[in-house]
Structures are given as C-alpha cells and as structure tokens.
Symmetry: C2
Subunit: 397 residues, 2 copies
C-alpha cells in the first residue's frame, strides 16, 4: 500500500482522483501496490465531496505525514507549487507534476534535490498532455543521440490555425470560437503568443540534450499576425501553417525556437488538427518518429500524471535516471545566424527582385507572396520593409 | 561494466554492434554502466572483422561465461533461438530480442522463466521496429485500460499499397518494385499474406490485455487480391486501403484480426506511407494516441534492441514488470460474429439491392462498388456471389 497526496483539486487534480479511483485493479497490477489517496490539498471547500475527509488546507498535514510517499503537484503556477515541491522532495517524498512552468523554471534545482534525497521528480504530463514523450526520450530512445525534437505543442493555437485553414476563418473569429468552446482562456496571451509552447520545447530540449535549456533563451513568435492571405498562400504551396516548438541538438549546442512555420502537406505533422499535439523526434539511428495524441484536457493530462505515479510507486526505493545538468558556458546557438527559408508576403511586388532565387507563390487581393532561399534572419530583415511580413518554413529534414 | 553477447551477426546484429560501438558515451550516461560486447555468435566466418576475436560458433562459450549478463538474440527464426533464449534465461541472464516469431510463439514460457529467475526478457524491437510501442503500452499508459490497439505493422505491404495508391500501380508491379528495392523477400508470402502483421498484433494484444493472445487465433487476410479498381473505389470514398492489425480488448475478451481495411483520409493513419509503420492505442482516459516511425531496417530495429539492453543494464539486479498470463478459457471473440462495414466490388450491379441501406460508390470498367451497413461476415458471405469481392472498413472510433 502506497499513500499519496494530491495538491490542487482543479481540472487535472480531479482527473487524477477519478483515474486512481476507477482503474484501481489495473494500477495495482502495473505498480505492484495498492495506491491510496490520503490527502487532497485545496484552499476551497469541498463539503459535498463523497470523500470530504480527505481534504485539507494545511500543507503541513501532508509534509509531516511519513506515510505519504508520493506528492502529486497539479496546482499550476510557480508559487507556492515551487515551495511545496521543494519541501516534499527535501522530506524524501517522490513528487509527480504536470506543471510546465515550474519544471521549465526550477526543474534543475528540483531534479538535483530529488537526486540528493534518492527520490524521483517526474513530469511527463508537463509536455504534450497525455502523449508519452519524456519517457520515450529518456528511455525508449536510449540507443540514440537525439538530433532534433520539434512539434505542435499547444492545442489552442492548433485549433485556431486549423479553423483558419479548413474554414477560411480569420484569426480573431477563430480565437473567439476557441474561447467559446473553452479551448482558449479569456486572456489567451500565454497560448497565442507562444509562451506555453516555449516552456514545453525548453523541457523537451533539456531532456533530449541532457543540458538545461532556459526557456528565456528560446526566441518566440506567436500566431496573432497570421492573416487569411498567409493561409491562402501556404495552401497554394500545398502547405499548412502550424505553431512549432523546434530544437536542434548538435555537438553540445542547442538551436531552439518557437514560431509559426510553413509545413508541406507531405509532412506527417501537417495533418495534426484541432486541439491535437504531435512531437517529432529525430534520432541518429532510429530516424524520424512521431508521437500523436491529446496534448491537454482533464483525463489525458491526468492519465500522464498517474502513469508517473505508477512509476514512482514501482521505484519507491530507487531512482529513475532522469536528469539534466546546468550548461558550462553558453550552449545556445545564436538564432539570428541560422539560415532558413521564409514565405514573404508583401504589397510591394518589386520586393522579390532583391531575393535571388526566390520562387513566386502568387498574388491575392493586392498582396504578393514568394519563398526565399535559405538566409539568416539578419539578412532577411535587411531586405524587408515595414509592411512586409514573413513566416518561416519548417527546416528541412 | 556490463558484458553482453550478440547471437546472430546479420542485419540487426551488426546494427546492434554498430550502435553500441558508436554511442558509447550516451549509453553509459543512460544505463549507468559501460556496456562491452564480449561475444558474437554466428556460424559464418568473419575473419576480416576488426574484432574477429569476439566471434564464436559455440553457444556454450556464452552460456557458461558468468560475466555475460545480457544475451541479445537477433538470429530470427524459432530454432535454435528458442533453445538459446531459454538456456540463457534459465542461467540467470537477461535476454533482449527482436524475434517476433519467437515472442509470439514461446513468449509466455520465456516470460515465466524470466520471472522465476528474476531476470528480464525484453522484446521492444519485435513489434514496429524502431517505434517505441511495447514500453509505452506497459509503462507510459499505466493509468489507462487499453481498449483498442491497431496499426500498420508491416512496411513491405504498406510500401506496395502506397505505390498502388499514389502511382496507380497494380499489385504485381508494386511487389516487383518492393523486391527490387530489397523491401520484400523473394518469397513475399510472410508479408503479403499478413503473417508478419499477425504475429505483431498478437504480441501487442497480449501486452495490452495482460493475457496471451495466440497468433493462430487471429484471422488473417493478405493484400494479394486488392485490385486497381479497389484502390480507385476507395479513393472515390476519400479513403485509402491499408493492411491493418487490429485488436479490441473489452471485459476480458479480445477481438483481433489482420486484414486490408478502408481508412478515411481524415484518419491520422491514412497518411502513413511507404515503409513507415504506425500504431494507434485507445486508452479509456487518454483517448487516441498514435506512434509513427520506421517499422523495420537495420538501425531503427537495432536502436530498439539497444534501448532494451540499456533497460536490462539499468535493471540488472531487478525485474521490469512485463508480463502476460495464459488465458483461463477462451478469451477470443468469434470474429464471424462481429459486425462491421464492407466495401463490396462486383460486376453484378443488382447485388446492391440485397443490401438495405448500402451507399453506392460508383462504376468503373464494368465494375460496381458500394458500402454496406454494419453486418457480420456470415451475413455478408450469404449475399456475395463467387465473383464479388469485399474489403472491410476500419471499425469506427
């Protein structure tokens, strides 16, 4: 029998509760132990809950209870999730989390404390919701050096872009629909400006390279400026536009970026629609793999949390090798110096003449679009005028 | 330092050798130990090999050497792979394999011996080559009851069907090209008749359900009878035809089948082309996940083998919970009683009248096609004449 505590009884926390209560037999078979929820921490009242005796508002009840071996932090936000996680690990308890903000910010410190104390800090649910991706990187692909990891890491923006492509909606209308359906927050900035994807690609890159990648070092562009014409021009190229978190790991350096990118329809990722996520991993031996599924939502996310709980229970006296180090010196490649291709949209048709080797896409409502050869951002910006816009192409395999 | 032996220096075996020699540092970081190849067993001569001193033709050298902790069986075939694996496990050595035939046939016995002896029998590479799929089923999806697992499990047939769809080739021409490219054997029966996919779906279903599924109980149809018109009619339905290994797991029973199936283009799996594989898993909490990548080939397969070696090394004193039981009584659903939809092709246009609610697809070169409502195989066969043919539709989500 292993006793656990859930911190935060919101969407994910109540999903975790539901799964542990529903799949009791399966969880016992897979983990080797009964898993019992001893506490649920939440500042709100849950007097109508059938197990209201489990609820507490005092974290010390959990921290000081030696019976609690695994703490499930699904509160979100940096504080007090950071303090609570640190205290639990320091007290020799395993911690499982879905909190990408916390992992991307304090992950190195928390992993180090876990290592010192001989316990596990697990965070599969922090990236790509229900899709198992951190464990495959860490374990299943152990034979490979991972050279690239990238993907569609944010369901909200993917829903919006899918609407724009399939229904010709403009950004504002697609966003409103996402909000009406509960896929986007009233303040959608974290999603549409790419901040959410930025934290996730930083975690993926850290785990794949074994070296901490600070999300603050990942240049990030959102999708708010994408127009109907961008969509139409991309379609003329037999391509779609997706918000991509992208990282290349070579020779101890990392090139990372979050940006909308033009992806050819022949690419497996181009069909990932609506709120679905997908992560592509390129290993030096296995070539390309793609993992596809629901990147968010109560039960998919809780399902990833509970898989980590099972792993913590299986390894209750033992550590899972999951770690990254702080970098020695700067490992980040200067993103302004990485050449790539761009789809340029302009009202100034003559602009194309200054791009040697560019291929023209066409004309639409007084706008004109073309694809450049590979060039750096600096070279591109030197040629673009104020009213010209661009979208990067997904780097070639 | 952990010493290992490779049984069989064919395509996969030499790939395993190459990976262990190339990714030395990464493998040490991930497994916690140096991994040294002490023996390679092969009946052929390798006098020109730079490490020819590693080669032996006598399995007893390996079996009796207590330093060898992990045996990597990549010989293929049932015998002597079965005897060698059994002897290694009985001697307390971990065994890692890519041998689907062996796992599908003697897996239960070998898993039981491994359990008794406190060692691991690992076989990630036996299904879907480089795609991590067994470990995700076993571990990452621990929170879920897996209700369905299905996929494109054979690269050769997928290459042939992709040719037929994209280039209008007929089966014989596409097969010849696959043979010329080395994707298909001179005797292609194991692939094109579905036997290979049959063993893989049996392994997937066994692991997902926790109960042994005998591949002999999986009704299997190949792709040899698929015509250009089938392809054209499917295309008119905005669908493709893929060879699918399919299993539904409900309430302790298993419905399994290998057959070509009509898959709508909106389905994520419809775009899996050429020699690529994909596996879809439906969990009760996580919904649909898809894993995509190279299902065969020297380095992708060897990469999965080496990931298992790393796992065995990490768990050298400990067992990974990976197991299925023999069924108590018959767990297989009678496949003739499971209703599904069919695409029927006939020269007898009047046939459609005996199928209430059928939707007509169209007419082509004197042939006529329609889609039936859901019905059992028995009901279908009662209505079809000698010259009528059918392809199943992928069961709906």
């Amino acid at each position: 029998m292993v006793k656990v505590a859930i911190l935060g009884f919101g969407t994910v926390g109540s999903g975790v509760y539901e799964i542990i209560k529903t799949n009791t037999t399966g969880l016992k078979r897979k983990s080797g132990s009964d898993i019992e929820i001893k506490y649920i921490l939440d500042i709100r009242e849950f007097d109508d809950h059938p197990e209201k005796h489990l609820f507490t508002k005092n974290y010390d009840d959990i921290l000081n209870d030696e019976e609690v071996k695994v703490v499930i932090e699904v509160m979100g936000g940096l504080h007090p999730a950071y303090e609570f996680s640190k205290a639990a690990l320091s007290a020799g308890k395993h911690v499982v989390t879905s909190n990408k903000e916390l992992v991307a910010t304090y992950g190195t410190e928390l992993l180090n404390i876990a290592k010192e104390k001989g316990v596990n800090y697990l965070f599969e649910a922090s990236v790509a919701g229900g899709i198992p991706i951190l464990r495959p990187i860490n374990q299943c692909l152990a034979a490979n050096d991972i050279e690239k990891v990238y993907g569609i890491l944010n369901g909200t923006t993917n829903f919006i872009l899918t609407k724009m492509f399939k229904e010709g909606a403009d950004f504002a209308d697609a966003l409103s629909e996402a909000q009406a359906l509960g896929y986007a927050e009233r303040n959608p900035e974290a999603d549409v400006e790419g901040h959410d994807a930025r934290r996730k690609i930083a975690i993926l890159a850290s785990l794949a390279s074994g070296i901490f990648v600070d999300y603050n070092d990942v240049p990030t562009e959102g999708i708010t400026k994408i127009t109907k014409n961008d969509v139409a021009f991309a379609a003329k190229m037999n391509s779609v536009i997706k918000l991509v978190g992208y990282a290349e790991l070579t020779g101890g350096t990392v090139y990372a970026r979050v940006a909308p990118m033009v992806i050819p329809c022949a690419h497996q990722m181009s069909d990932v629609s609506d709120v679905f996520n997908a992560v592509v991993i390129h290993g030096n031996f296995v070539d390309d793999l793609m993992f596809y599924g629901r990147g968010a939502g109560k039960l998919p996310t809780a399902s990833a949390v509970v898989a980590d709980v099972v792993d913590a229970v299986k390894h209750i006296e033992r550590r899972i090798r999951l770690m990254w180090k702080m970098p020695e010196g700067n490992i980040m490649v200067d993103p302004t110096k990485v050449p790539t291709q761009y789809m340029v949209r302009t009202t100034n048709k003559a602009l194309v003449e200054s791009f040697a080797g560019a291929s023209v896409i066409g004309e639409l409502d007084g706008e004109f679009a073309f694809v450049t050869c590979e060039m750096t951002e600096t070279e591109l910006f030197a040629k673009l005028g104020e009213n010209d816009s661009f979208i990067r192409l997904l780097p070639k395999a």
